[in-house]
Amino acid sequence: METRAKGPLLFCAILLFLSLSVLALDAHRWKSLSDREMRWFQELTGGLGMGAVAAPVWSVIDFDPRLQPVDESKLWPVPGSYSYSPASTSSVTRFREVLKDSDPAKTSKEE
């Protein structure tokens, strides 16, 4: 039993070493990452895009809530047109309308 034990322990140690190396490499890469092109593009367009969606399909709010803070495509099926959109086009980000501080409709639940 004891000789068999070496294999899994060694394998586990290698995997752990590789994972920690990946973390270290990624942290190093992140420090030296150039965002020059990204900044130029955002300056050019005045700020475009916020969610994990490459194009504004279905609902613009998932692409950039600054452009359309309300997802109107979800309101109700439009007669003679398509039905409401999927709940969200992105699986990792989700935007909802943010009510302003001065808005009397703001509730504690929303915050």
Binding site: A5, C12, E37, R39, L48, S90, S91, V92
Partner: protein, 394 residues
Amino acid sequence: MNVPSLQSHWNLLRAACGNLVRFLPRTLVVLLCLVAVIFPFVTALTISEGVQFQSAISVLEGADFYVTGNAAGSSIPLPMEDLERLEALEGVARAVPRIVGRTYVADRVITLVGLPVDATPPPAVGLNQGGPLRNSGDVLVGSSISKTYDLEPGTDFRFPIKPRKTFHVAGVFSSDCTIWSSSVIFMSIEDAADLFGMEENVTDFLVYAEPDRAFEIDMRLQEEEKSRRFGPLTNIRVQSRQLVERYLHRGFNMRMGIFTAFYTVAFALAVPALLIVSGFGWADRRREVGMLRVVGWQSSEIIEMVAWENLVLSLMGACIAFLASFVWIRLLNGLFIAQFFIAETGLVPDFPVPSRFLPLPLFFSFLLALLLTMTGSLYNTWRLATIAPAEAIR
């Protein structure tokens, strides 16, 4: 320190590792299940971190205020003449009209952005082909659109919404210009207004404040917003940088909302699946536990040995899933799977999939794996370890 006690734990760990080799098919099946459950979890978190970084740049380099028209709760265009009102506000460094819309190129939805050409930043560091806009009808296209429809610099094309007007590709955005640049077409505001038939209207105004005067402008714009004095008929909606930052923080915190909802289903399915696979080869385990009891092992020692097995398996599963995610996202650029996390990327993404590998997802993955394996085996082991050895062997 109690050295003999430590030695007994070490011995149990070695016995657990021996078991993993001895019941190799069961070990492999459990490992595969763990990797299948953890892989999307790690991938989603790392991509979310990468997108959040790009999103923060979008907010930072964007305007201090976005002013749009507002009618019955929806954004609507504002007349171009309102530009003068905004520029006249004290503390405003500059106000820029913008048209942002969505339309089709062939069968693909794209974002169309129009701004005054003289407002664009000088050296075109974000173009990897061609140059900036020079003439009417010139456009800059995203890398993905350029690749899909062969829109190289010098190519002429038409939009389906206005087939009579010809546009000329002046340059192509670099694929490093954030994920949103891949499906964007940039042109002068005059061309955009002509294309959408907006005449003297724009979708929004970008207002840039003088240093340290953002608060002052915010107050003035809020007054305008409430008094409805802005424009003859329309109300306005003002979105300050502060508000947009709230979108950013909440949008990325809320990821756990939609993703957890999806993930809860996967998790709920994984627990019974692991319960079943943990019972894979359970007859052998039953006999073994019986024999261990016969030779004098305590119930607690048997349970500890199984816990060690789970710990080693969980560590292996979490690390394999983490490494697989790294290889698939960073080296294969999210081939086939990126579209599940970033919508509208296609099977082969045309831009570098943003991602950031942090220690926390790895740690959470380990905890998740541990929870799953412990749920799947500890109760069964405890039941076997507490019955009479003769019964277990039979």
